[in-house]
Amino acid sequence: MTLIHTSLLTGVFMVSLINDQAYNEIFDVNPDVVIGVIGVVIVPIGMIFALFFSHESPVYLIKNQRDDEALAVLIRLRNKNKENQEIRAEFNELKQMVDEDAQNHKTFDGQHMKQLLIIILVKLSFVASFNLPINFLFIGSVDTNYYNGLVRLAVCIVSMFVVDINKKQYLIASAGLSGVVLLATVSLFSFENNYMGSLAANLTALLFQVFAGWGVGSLVDIYSTEAFNTNKKPTYIAIATTIEYIVQILLVCFVFFYDISFFAISPYAILVPSALIMIGTSFVVWYFIPNTNHMSLREARNKFFKFY
């Protein structure tokens, strides 16, 4: 899951780099053309990878009573030549998970609605850390366009290797510290006359991208896959992500229709609510999300289910 989030941030960083080069007149090309050409190249590569390297999901195969194929896929995914004890145990656990999930047919029962609400609140922390007004502020306050994207991507790549040590603590620290940095940014923005381009601006941008990139995006995605059972996961992830994107749309409209120049927007309008959401998320995660380190999907799902 962290690889998926890192790929998204890679694309974001590539755009910031292209825009920085194009608008500093390093080379005379329309950045939209560059983005389009990259898309034309990446898409067939993705299709070729899908054809030759992609494997069907074992859970999908088990759900469709194709157990032999599911076992064969598991053997290939674990880079083994034949079945062993670990693979058989993993297969049995997946099968048990699918059988248990098949017995629960209600899509919107009270238990799962609580989990959905928690995941929505946690996803809003990613929106609070990565939206149009906040990005404009941090990109505009430093000298180079790709600074923020580079820092966030670098931190996300590092966190890919260590995030499984203690997911809950990382998310609490990441969200809480990002909120604190946002509040510090509000103070500096209010009291310092030449905030934009200053050392303080560079430092707050660096700290914010480091803390936010450490866990807010990727861990939110991990918890959204662990919290729900296999039958309800697509529906609930779709609902949570839809709400996330609706909030993003509202923030875009807020910036463009607020009818004053962006950098004159009071920092209290965006930064303070974002900071409060992020600090609130750290409390929500501390109190409402269980510790699921080193657990399989079934174990994590059961722990979420019994936690409330």
């Binding site: 825009n19 609706i246 080193h294």
Partner: protein, 175 residues
């Protein structure tokens, strides 16, 4: 610092069965990468999709110069907002349809059909210069997938209408 709360976790007795040790040395990391290589390879198609989704996302909300682009200066504010929000709105539609499709269609069909269609859309944009509606056209190929799953003639008609509208009237040129 202990973040564990006594409220509920003490009542939950689920413990992980297979606690995998976190790799420490370089050789251990290398061995772990070797073991996970097929699983990572399986994800590569998804990561390439996410990478160019990140390009679109960054183009919209991580782009300080979005209002300074040549095409944007010729359009009004509403069109600019629509262009930025088009990715999100198409993504919402894609989420809704995918939540339905993923239970009924295999991963291979989804990957290959969507990537093939995406490639055709991009080539179309390259030759015709119409970019505004690429997100709406992405919705169209999602509709194509629904057509393949449900076999509905109505969806095909709606899809062709969306394509015709997108190609015939676009507010700005890509090149």
């Amino acid at each position: 610092m202990n973040f564990q709360t006594d409220r509920n976790e003490s009542n939950v007795i689920i413990e992980p069965n297979n606690i995998q040790q976190q790799p420490v040395t370089a050789m251990q990391w290398f061995q772990k990468f070797q073991d996970l290589r097929p699983q990572t390879s399986s994800l590569i198609a998804g990561t390439t999709v996410m990478m160019y989704s990140g390009l679109h996302l960054g183009w919209g909300i991580f782009n300080l110069y979005i209002g300074d682009q040549k095409w944007a200066k010729q359009q009004d504010r509403n069109t600019l907002v629509l262009c930025i929000c088009s990715w999100f709105s198409a993504a919402i539609l894609g989420l809704i349809f995918t939540a339905f499709l993923i239970k009924k269609t295999s991963k291979m069909i989804l990957y290959v059909s969507l990537n093939l269609h995406n490639d055709l859309i991009y080539l179309n944009i390259l030759f015709t210069g119409h970019c505004f509606s690429f997100s709406l056209v992405e919705c169209y190929f999602v509709l194509i997938c629904i057509r393949d799953s449900c076999g509905s003639f109505c969806i095909k008609t709606i899809g062709w209408f969306v394509t015709w509208y997108c190609l015939s009237d676009s507010p700005h040129s890509w090149m």
